[in-house]
Subunit: 141 residues, 3 copies
């Protein structure tokens, strides 16, 4: 399987909580970073997800928000990963920002130029990537 | 807290309806515009969200769809905000469209060039911004 | 109604399963392709969605992931549509990929350049488009 989603992180399923339509699935990445996903119950069943299984958290770069000064952020987005800006690619409308988050993982975000400039995103600087649980796709081998 | 999400609107929590996994949270923006969000129950608990609290609705520009002639639109997206196009920034693939929606708020959308051209989006024209409740992140101070 | 979302597919509602907050809605497109959406219960009620009704599945190009070698993919994303790449438009950060999926439908995705290059996406090649049920908006006439 090869997919365009820039962020594919390997981990282990640590929790599953099913609702009527959706389920919340927790993963622990190799580096210990937790990731929370909301997928449909039907997907949990079809993939036979179970605690302890190896799985991937897949997040499209356009779903990722970049933040700074998030130490005291109180925000509903369940996933926040901080690190060092490894690369910045600017276009006329969009800017790609890649953040090294430890454990050998880099998370890519596509944000608007105006945001990148307003936040002062530069290579080597500190930044956090945040994304909603509903933006996460779960994959298994 | 500084984040790349272009759309951060201040308001007051007007309703919370919890399900098994997700919760629907309603906000009234300063200008009276309602915004509906779907976040996880765990986020509602962690942020201690309650009716009457001040909160922010945060929406990434790439989650926003631009429409025209939406007066009679029957569509599941819970949030529709109409106004005047304040700015258009074109790139080779993407175009940013900023719409003034009243109450001092502007909403930014990133759409494809082809869509912008097909819809005839021009500065000063009328346009509506629409986004799903699941695209909204809630923040509190 | 005219909207910027590049992907608007006509079909018939084949199933509705309501939860506490969200509902899962299934559509069969004209070509027989199934599409699964997760929308709020309030939207199902407001649109008076019912099995057998004609409806549209609306998906923003930025929510669509492009994949290859997905034959044996085990992934939570509920919607996968495969076909032939009809067009590729490259920008400095983003690339638009249009895939003909049969039944007269083409699905557009906006991905990063790096992904397009890594996947070797070329006009005339085979590719699959995948998107989460939560990325689908339902529209009715």
């Amino acid at each position: 399987m090869k997919i365009s989603a820039r962020n594919v992180f390997s981990g282990t399923v640590s929790g599953i909580s099913k609702g009527a339509v959706n389920a919340e699935v927790s993963l622990d990445l190799k580096a210990g970073t937790p990731v929370t996903a909301v997928v449909t119950n039907a997907s949990v069943d079809r993939l036979a997800l179970a605690v302890g299984m190896e799985a991937y958290a897949i997040i499209k770069a356009s779903s990722v928000i970049i933040g700074t000064d998030l130490h005291d952020a109180r925000i509903s987005a369940r996933n926040i990963m901080c690190g060092v800006v490894a690369n910045v690619i600017e276009g006329p409308v969009s800017t790609e920002v890649d953040v090294e988050i430890g454990g050998g993982n880099t998370i890519s975000a596509v944000i608007t130029n105006e945001s990148a400039q307003k936040l002062g995103i530069v290579k080597g600087g500190h930044a956090c990537a945040l994304f909603k649980a509903s933006s996460v796709i779960i994959g298994v081998k």
